[in-house]
């Protein structure tokens, strides 16, 4: 069953036509990845799904509900959370406050339990919970960004280049976490430039090129495709 359906969306920045008729779907329990070069429109697609951007035409249907006209701050209540590109944690707030913001729409008494879950998954964050997020390392900030998104208990978790700028060992850790979250029942939509790693954990994948989807298939199919190997896997 498709939990997310994106139907022929067109997105503009002023006169720049960044996304030109993209359609795809994510089924309950899948890991789906969207790969593509810089400027292909991956973040634009994710931000349109989360309601930060509005499509000029086309629709986003989440859990059977058309999100047209739903304000960006309401989308999270439908069970969708995004780990934005560049982490975008609140640098001047503490780790714990960042996590509280992640649970902003949830009742107070439920927050403690979720926070314990996040701390169990990321013990490093627990040690640093009174620290200002701006003083965390890049890897720690990425964990915080993921932890913050988990605080809303999303059914669909969207991650925008979570491996960006991280050392290989941390990249591996991040992908392990994504696998664990998926095993725990969370549906994942992953945007990556690290095509190798993304395709290897994805059930299905889409390739985005200058605002259009040019290829799609299972992770294994795309990994075997000549075109993908040449363009994204370095031969």
């Amino acid at each position: 069953m498709a939990i997310l359906q994106v139907n022929d969306i067109h997105v503009y920045y002023g006169s720049i036509h960044a996304v030109k008729g993209v359609s795809f779907e994510v089924n309950q329990g899948e890991i789906v990845t969207l790969i593509g070069a810089n400027g292909a429109g991956k973040s634009t697609v994710l931000n349109t799904v989360s309601g930060l951007l509005h499509p000029a035409s086309g629709s986003v249907v989440f859990d059977g509900k058309d999100l047209k006209g739903v304000a960006a701050h309401k989308v999270v209540e439908h069970g969708m959370a995004q780990v934005p590109e560049g982490r975008r944690v609140f640098l001047q707030m503490t780790v714990e406050e960042n996590l509280e913001m992640g649970a902003y729409t949830r009742p107070r008494d439920e927050i403690m339990g979720s926070m314990d879950d996040v701390y169990r998954r990321f013990p490093r964050l627990k040690e640093r919970r009174r620290q200002i997020a701006g003083t965390l390392s890049g890897g720690e900030q990425q964990m915080l960004a993921i932890g913050r998104a988990l605080m809303s208990k999303p059914t669909l978790l969207m991650l925008d280049e979570p491996s960006m700028g991280l050392a290989p060992i941390l990249v591996e850790q991040i992908f392990d976490i994504i696998r664990e979250l998926h095993a725990g029942g969370t549906t994942i939509l992953l945007v990556e430039q690290n095509a190798q790693a993304a395709l290897s954990i994805a059930d299905r994948a889409y390739v985005l090129e200058t605002g259009k989807i040019t290829l799609s298939g299972t992770g294994a199919e795309l990994m075997a495709s000549d075109k993908v190997r040449q363009a994204y896997l370095g031969g």
Binding site: A71, Q82, R87, Q92, M101, Y104
Partner: protein, 292 residues
Amino acid sequence: MVFLSYLISGLSLGSVYAIIALGYTMVYGIAKMLNFAHGDVIMVGGYICFIATTNLGLPVWLAVILSMAACTVLGVVIEGLAYKPLRQAPALAVLITAIGVSYFLQNAALLIWGANPKMFSPVVTGTLQLFDGQLTISYVSLLTIAACIVIMIALTLYINKSKMGKAMRAVSEDKGAAQLMGIHVNRTISTTFAIGSALAAVAGVLYCSFSPMLMPTTGSMPGIKAFTAAVFGGIGSIPGAFLGGILLGIIESLAKAYISTNMANSIVFAVLIVVLVVKPTGLLGKYVPEKV
């Protein structure tokens, strides 16, 4: 002893500036705009209090509450009608609009209350005599300083501990990320205006208690000074606004006493320029690292 009395009058004047500067700095920090109409909300606050006490014969405390309530509504309405539609507009358009709102408020006041100054009677009267009458402190001064301290503490607690306060800080850092968290950005900004405007009403009442000639342009000067104070302390910083306001008041008062009454304002602004040259972010302004 004379020095001490100048210091105390500077401290109380500075407290008024600080209360106004808090409004400027909160709005700047969260909505990223300079609300130049903030000073005129002070004037409206003064008029409402004046009418409530003089024309309606209400007790002072009720008049102050009424004035705060009216200014809160005014602030929220100004934000909703004039600034909200410009959320995506260039900063210059917002700035020009704010100046427009400022003139609108002044002219509306002129229309409603006329050009003749009203004599505002201080909210409290009397003085405290210390050291065998060598040092005289007015109760208004003490009230003002106390109000400023209470407001400062309450606001700091609110911003740091309350859910809305935390949302304000999140919005001030990253509106988009705040929205992803489910924070209603527009409501957060409205709340900021509401608080800033309620503080402006308090400041208006206190300011008029020192400087009782109430006119439609009454808010301009304290508005500009408080804006200076906010920049001086580091715009966007709450402790900065407090410190900037107090220092500005003290500098102004001492300059008036020891250098020249006419030069006092020039000296205040000269100090501002020096501070900004040495430390462009203001005294307590933070350098915010760019995100990667």
